[in-house]
Symmetry: C2
Subunit: 328 residues, 2 copies
Amino acid sequence: MTQPVSSSAPAAGNGFLSTPATPSAVLVVGSVALDSVETPFGKADEVLGGSGNYFSSSASHFAPVQLVGVVGDDYPMDKLEALRARGVDLAGVEKTEGSSFRWRGRYRHDLNSAETLETHLGVFSHFRPKIPAQFRQAPFVFLANIDPRLQLQVLEQVEKPRLVACDTMNFWIESRRPELVELLKHVDLVTLNDAEARQLTEQSNLVKAARWIMDKGPRHVLIKKGEHGAFMFSPDSIFFAPAYPLESVFDPTGAGDSFAGGFIGYLARTGDLGERNMRRAVVVGSAMGSFAVEKFSNTRLLEITAADIERRVQEFRQLVSFDTELGS
Amino acid sequence: MTQPVSSSAPAAGNGFLSTPATPSAVLVVGSVALDSVETPFGKADEVLGGSGNYFSSSASHFAPVQLVGVVGDDYPMDKLEALRARGVDLAGVEKTEGSSFRWRGRYRHDLNSAETLETHLGVFSHFRPKIPAQFRQAPFVFLANIDPRLQLQVLEQVEKPRLVACDTMNFWIESRRPELVELLKHVDLVTLNDAEARQLTEQSNLVKAARWIMDKGPRHVLIKKGEHGAFMFSPDSIFFAPAYPLESVFDPTGAGDSFAGGFIGYLARTGDLGERNMRRAVVVGSAMGSFAVEKFSNTRLLEITAADIERRVQEFRQLVSFDTELGS
């Protein structure tokens, strides 16, 4: 699983996604939950949710995914079959006695922030990630939003990944700051939203916030601004990709993890960590985030094709492209 | 003053701003005020402010500007000399008995929204724009944020401009909706911020909001999102430009009008209303907005050079550029 990636057999099509590739595996450790969501456009009850689900559904379009998480004995395992069919290895999804992680939330008209109505951690509150032996050499690792102490435990179990990325949230920034700062020393890339970046660094300016984080260890910081796009800060450059201006956003749940899945998945597919390719990965991530919000749960992520992704990436290009040569 | 300004002799440098150009005149009707502003970084008292001031300071880098506004007999006219020196024709700035328009505001730590502490309309409350005869054929017209009834009166006084753009605000959307909707029939382009677009159209989705506005008349809608960038909606395309990620934003006052000044000024300079050139104009506008916030009042706008503008436009290019060919 550690051998370098993009090989040489030509694939069908001429889009950049169909370019010859031998993708590396992506290990993701995160939540596998049941979400009940209410938006101005409808309701969904006990549908597949959690960072692990969204990330895997998205990343599986680009690379083989190894999912580690925990579910209760009430979890509808048959619903995970769609992930398995897409090449997601579920050997790390532990089923234990108790009830599954459930989240119930509501979005108001502006869709910008979820209102949490109920959270039942269930078996997730005792989650101790155990990385199966066959997952420990995954070259790409995504530590989704879980307790930083657990994220550190995962890193003790993996062997020299090429890229480790982590996500976090306000709750951990408040309750586990020392552990989170310790974690930063061991990751190559952090994804977090703008409010979290400001909270973690106590810097209201995002450029300064990113620099603060990079000073702690990570080479790259990806700041997600939801409907306002995302910044990737690197040692020598800043890249920005807008969110795709969708006419109907149906359910914003999981957009950030779908973004991360597209981003890391694309890097694992291409095996290229150069600046140009990382910019492409941000755009692919943005495209995947934009698909995620078009339907409840991971529904849309599971039905789109490579051609759909190609098309949206080209639409992103159209959206931001300009030149500085005169002429119309 | 109506003859073209910076002439056709090729200028030094090979940037797109130094390309030979015969700029058209830009007429702007707006406020000429005195601002007192407090930000986390300092205070400024009774400095040049108002939409007319910011727009002119910005647009004057690209084209000759004709400013129409009103000031009281207490206005420090000498402070306007810096504008005149930059080619802004002040023949339309009427001085009348009474006190000048004064605004006092404060920005908190996040700098996202101004808190108005005091507004004295003074002579501005009786403003009836009179367009000097020599201004009536300006090919480019910007109706800054004033009463839509006055904006309509301006249009009765001008002769077949190539492009008319208008700005507006929540106050007019609430109090002068019918007049504002009437105005939309007569303008080619509207600039407004995202909250105003949603309020005017009662559509929370910006794509739908833009379409609503375009259905009323304008060919283009420019939705400004402050630190989150700007969208230009056109009949067949959407263009997005981010705000430049500045490390220190000093005073956000006037960013929107400086954006509009750069945008319209660049169009007047190039005379090209094709999609490609309008995209460039949005980026130039974004660059000018990013300069405006670096210092109080129009200070920074008046000190920057063409080379500074070129450089920032290229930085914008760096910020958003990506390709879809493999390679790093």
